[in-house]
Symmetry: C2
Subunit: 163 residues, 2 copies
DNA sequence: ATCATAATTGTATATATATTCATAAATACG
DNA sequence: CGTATTTATGAATATATATACAATTATGAT
């Protein structure tokens, strides 16, 4: 009796779940159950709840509505690749100090974010410097924090709640 | 009346939510509601459900039990950093072909995974080559796929459902 | 200002998900 | 082999989350 006689059924189901989630958008455990049924796996929502927890599968709010289950290894990529893939989606926070704004983003994305900001040619920004996960924004002399925020938010509404 | 008179309350709440989730483990919307209450934000579970969707905050099954809400920018790191941070956690799948096993993992992790595998000095493996997200494993002549799987799974049970 | 339109929110409720409990199957151990 | 112990599962249910609806408030255009 080798190791494969144990938990054959559950592991196969787990494999199938991974496969399904990698290739299609599943938005409820019942939907997953039906999909598995098509593949010959008869099971219940309760078991799937446990399976998803065991596999540490995450539930992500969809772009406009609904939810999607995904492997955690897919999350960042699905978030940045799926729909609006602006580098701004990688932006985490913006803090102001005197004539500088410090924008924190995901590792390795700072150059893209800086390039994007440069492309906007905003009057209030006289230049940017990108590291790995940080963009330093140099603000034009005479521009107040409030003015900067206002301009930034009006051009980039998606940053509204990060500044 | 400037732009900041609009949606002050909601944006402030969103900011607060981000801040809370970045620094603490919240496992239900009610828990989040209580935390916000402490900060002076009175709201309801329904609103938080909508907020979490708007902010595209994900729900991750915890290591042993329960669930955690997290910013999507935290997911990969929280997954690999939080508990057992073996490079194997970045491993997505293993496929076999003749004397080769192709292990797919998260981008940039292949070298760590390969190093880890080398360290195991498994008889059935005569060598590995790491790309960026793929490790090529060369299997010793005469070892069957079943034997390889059996050895791999017995040494690395966490890969059980990826091969 | 005044009206029309759009956004935000709470209440109540529907829906989805997790968990308890009982049971069966698998494994470990004698 | 037989018994003890763990693991997996389903049914029923508790809990958590999403949403329809109505009311309120904000925004935009005269």
């Amino acid at each position: 009796m080798n190791i494969y006689t144990i938990m054959i059924s559950r592991d196969n189901r787990h494999r199938a779940i991974r496969g399904i989630l990698e290739t299609s958008k599943i938005s409820s455990q019942n939907e997953l159950r039906e999909r598995l049924e098509d593949l010959g796996f008869e099971t219940t929502q309760a078991t799937l709840s446990r399976d998803l927890a065991a596999l540490r599968i995450v539930r992500i709010p969809g772009a406009d509505k609904g939810y999607v289950y995904a492997l955690s290894s897919q999350v960042t990529s699905s978030f940045s690749l799926m729909e609006d893939n602006s580098p701004l989606n990688t932006c985490k926070s913006i803090a102001l100090s005197h004539n500088l704004a410090v924008l924190k983003c995901l590792p390795s994305f700072a150059p893209s974010v800086a390039l994007f900001l440069d492309g906007l040619e905003m009057d209030v920004i006289i230049g940017t410097v990108a590291g790995d996960d940080t963009v330093l924004i140099i603000i034009r002399e005479g521009v107040t924090h409030e003015q900067f925020r206002e301009v930034l938010v009006s051009r980039l509404p998606e940053l509204r709640d990060r500044i």
